[in-house]
Amino acid sequence: MTITLSHFSSAILFSIFASVVFGITQRNTPRDMVRYGLYCFAMFVGGVIVAGWVMWLIRR
């Protein structure tokens, strides 16, 4: 089976899985785990979008 994902969908999936692991392993209480997981996810996706715009500006 071969899956072909776009760069963006790959980055979103990467962000989801990494955020789940970071949230669970880096905090002690369930509430903090959820909050930190969401924070990591936002940083991942935000970083992807910012990096995309930076590359767009460099290319111009």
């Binding site: 899956i3 999936l13 899985f17 692991v21 669970i24």
Partner: protein, 141 residues
């Protein structure tokens, strides 16, 4: 009160040392072999299942994207680092090598993403192993 004799005092580096228990050895080993299982054997059901699903899904997606699995004798320093990442996935890596999967396909543009998924799945499992150990020694609830 007089001070206790010097022979009964511990060196400073051993005062807070974690006690070695069976679980503190078994949990990291199981966690490495089966992602998330180190939490499951310590009855952290929710965390264990979430970690297992995340790491296994990431590894399988990497394989499905035609990612490359590194071998131990890569020779190149980057290949060795890739192997260190891949080996973190434990049983998943062993099964993949035994089945001779993960050759990578340079004809697919997404194969490189798959290679990174495989490496990061292993690295995330290293974090999971450390977390299972911290739970076993009581450092984390």
């Amino acid at each position: 009160m007089p001070n206790p004799s010097p022979t009964k005092t511990k060196p400073p580096d051993l005062v807070d040392a974690a006690p070695v228990s069976t679980m503190s050895v078994v949990a990291p080993a199981v966690a490495w072999l089966i992602p998330g299982a180190g939490h499951l054997i310590q009855k952290r059901w929710g965390r264990g299942i979430l970690l297992m699903v995340s790491i296994v899904a990431m590894f399988l997606l990497g394989l499905a994207m035609q990612g490359r699995v590194y071998k131990p004798n890569g020779g190149d320093i980057l290949d060795i680092l890739g192997f260190v990442g891949d080996i973190g996935a434990g049983g998943l890596y062993i099964v993949t090598r035994a089945m001779d999967w993960g050759h990578g396909a340079i004809s697919h543009a997404t194969a490189d993403y798959g290679t990174k998924f495989l490496i990061v799945a292993g690295l995330l499992n290293f974090i999971t192993v450390a977390d299972a150990y911290h739970i076993a020694i009581g450092k984390k609830p």
